[in-house]
Symmetry: C2
């Protein structure tokens, strides 16, 4: 395989019953297992048997979902991925965690430990937390504004990276005869001093198999893209249309280069939520079946959160008025990207309110695609080969069946086309993504601080 | 078994290579496996096969140990216990975590998730963190004083308990037909407002199998005992002598009663670090073998940390001067209990400096006992039946062998004597300790806040 084609990356984005908001009402889902760890371990094994790069969990430290109608959120992702690590051997394990609502020393430890425990399979999806509901859970009277959150995020990632580097790779000597366990000259205080954070160190654990867990990012705002260009090694992104995805892809790869990094070392992974059927008609019928299970009250409240207006007076079967999106000036930078996705759908498709709710029920603004396995493979290949994606964050509308049908029917086609691995060629998430292992910033004779 | 005797509780306190400070230098230990999760999973299975109540990890968010001479600390305990959970079915899983250096919402989530993942086996050893090294890792110019730490700890435990109660046990309805997943009237904001902490809630996960993970505590100071009396369901304690353990036991059970709690619902578990041999002479020879592997420079630095004086001028083979302990007035309440343990040893035994270092090398002030399996079982039975202990925190001087020899030789004797279970009679840590499952504080018709 010396002239092997460029390979796709595929992650399974796990959401308890599935990404469709009404998934838990469908008989194919298992909402009764949301708190059962073996359910997630089985999903992990399904993803690993299909040679997926990783599984991925979203997260936020607040109850965001209206749980009256939505079966979520479930368990804390770092612990959950640790349990999945114990049931798998190669699968990457990516958890979302907030730089706004964690302390860097604590979070650095959790991801370091996950990376050790999994033998180098951890990834951290860095978020600043977009909901102001979290602030009140942490004693803050208000959620820090977008720019402040990103300013803290940069410091946070710098400090965490330094903690992960604190023990050089060869710090442990382990000489039972002389009684020297470690070389204190290779274990460093980090003495991080920022505007938001001060962290002295040293870290209290050895450097991990990957050096750094893989850094993942998902922000589509300008701050988010700039941050991604500097730090991210994988980016989860939401695009409805190929041309938007291409524009984003080109923009990010350019930003990455301006930071002196190789564009190959940042994987851009749009979300795709596939309804799969033996025929296109069957797939579309399945999608309709799920959409008919939605509760309009829930969807309207979600949409209201995006457009920032009371929508309860809108008749469900009227066309969505375009004015809804014309005066969105006071929406935050963070919310704007989601708003733009929705406005684009409304402008292009002129749906009814009910139709729009159905469009958004699939995967919260990510791309829903209903088709045959061939058609799903085709769209994946098209985006992959036309500068729109390095792979995909697969968001099955329902679990566990929606992932199983994807791995049983779409993955073999991608493998036949030579686009996706048939065996793992490495053991770490960095291996799967083709990312280099970073050297410790303290390596190479810098004077030890300890 | 209707008139079954009162039963011992036994925990295995896991410390990477063992509790003896030189364990990692001994060929029976495995310091090369400190970052290997399967090592801890094997230890967990050994403890479970012997029907231990739980395994336990200490923790602190700073590098406290002089790693030049000491093989520690290893991995973050909550993630590590999650991996052990995946390899066991009944064993309790107790992690230490700091109320001074965590946020209640984050820590509540980690323990809730561990309790869900393990099917009700989580325990939280509540500490306020005794080292000022941690402060600088969290942007603080100084470590909060003892009283302030305990004041925050009380608020922290109250807030975390309320978060764990936030979803009533029957909050999830899961009616696929009507589309109602949960009853918002049974999911509560907690609106906690204290002097140190404000936490609104609601929590973002369902109530756990145990309702609350078991609350463990280890502080021997006056504040610590008062806190234990109010909150603790198990207490880890360090005593060299039976009479001191009895005094402590009586004091705690009395304090528990003054809070209107049943003294039976607080398990008092002193540490014991047993060197076991076929004969007493063999056991003592084994202890000497470990002591001879200690590095005086390391032990002196540790001792210096306890007495707060420079000890490097003390000749190793001179008797420890009693004056060393006569002017300890400016030692904190927290450090005083450790100082008293050491002063007691010096007064009673008049050891040389080297002898004292050996005495302390065993288990950092916990009780070291060298003897035959019968002798170890005898001392356990004596303490258990004479009002000094409800069980023990077993601290093997070396791992994994030190735990294996205990489970193979001492446990069968305790079982024969009817003092220790031969099968688990329940599945949760509360079951093992004989503790009730707390009802949610929001249950029973209190108006929902959400």
């Amino acid at each position: 395989m010396t002239d092997q084609k460029r390979q796709l990356s595929l992650n399974a984005f796990i959401y308890p019953s599935g990404h469709h908001e009404a998934a838990w009402r469908h008989p194919a889902s298992r909402p009764d297992r949301i708190y059962d760890v073996t359910y997630y371990q089985e999903i992990g094994r399904t993803a690993e048997a299909a040679k997926f790069d990783a599984v991925f969990f979203a997260d936020g430290p607040a109850l965001r979902t209206n749980v009256k109608y939505n079966a979520a959120p479930g368990l804390e992702p770092i612990t959950l991925l640790t349990a999945i690590a114990a049931a798998t051997t190669h699968l990457g394990l990516i958890a979302t965690a907030s730089t706004t609502y964690y302390e860097p020393y604590n979070l650095a430890r959790l991801f370091s430990s996950l990376d050790h425990i999994s033998g180098g399979r951890a990834g951290w999806n860095i978020v600043t937390t977009g909901t102001d509901l979290a602030a009140a859970n942490f004693g803050l009277s208000e959620h820090p504004v977008h720019a402040e959150r990103y300013s803290r995020a940069r410091e946070f990632v710098d400090a965490v990276g330094a903690l992960w580097d604190s023990w050089e790779d060869d710090a442990i000597i382990l000489d039972q005869k002389s009684g020297i366990y470690a070389d204190p000259g290779k274990i460093h205080e980090i003495n991080y001093v920022g505007r938001h954070l001060r962290v002295r160190g040293p870290f209290n654990s050895a450097r991990t198999p990957q050096g750094h867990p893989v850094l993942v990012q998902a922000g589509a705002s300008n701050d988010g893209r700039s941050f991604a260009g500097q730090y991210a090694e994988a980016i989860f992104t939401a695009h409805q249309r190929l041309e938007d995805a291409q524009t984003f892809y080109t923009d990010i790869k350019k930003r990455v280069a301006t930071f002196g990094r190789s564009p190959d070392h940042v994987k851009i992974l749009p979300g795709i939520s596939p309804f799969i059927g033996d025929t296109e008609a069957e797939a579309k019928a399945l999608e309709r079946e799920f959409n008919e299970l939605t509760v309009p009250e829930y969807g309207l409240a979600q949409l209201q959160g995006i457009v920032g207006k009371d929508l309860r007076s809108l008749p469900l079967d009227d066309t969505v008025p375009l004015e809804l999106f014309s005066d969105a000036g006071n929406v935050t930078d963070n919310a704007r990207s989601r708003l733009q996705v929705v406005a684009g759908i409304v402008e292009r498709e002129r749906p009814t309110v009910r139709g729009l709710l159905h469009r958004l029920a699939g995967a919260r603004g990510h791309r829903v695609f209903a088709g045959t396995p061939e058609q799903v493979a085709d769209t994946i290949e098209t985006w992959f080969t036309s500068g729109a994606a390095d792979g995909f964050n697969v968001m099955p509308p329902y679990y566990p069946g929606g992932l199983e049908v994807f791995t049983e029917t779409v993955v073999p086609i991608l493998q036949e086309r030579g686009l996706f691995r048939t065996e793992y060629t490495g053991t770490t998430l960095r291996d799967h993504f083709g990312l280099p292992r970073p050297e410790s910033r303290f390596a190479g004779g810098i004077a030890a601080a300890q």
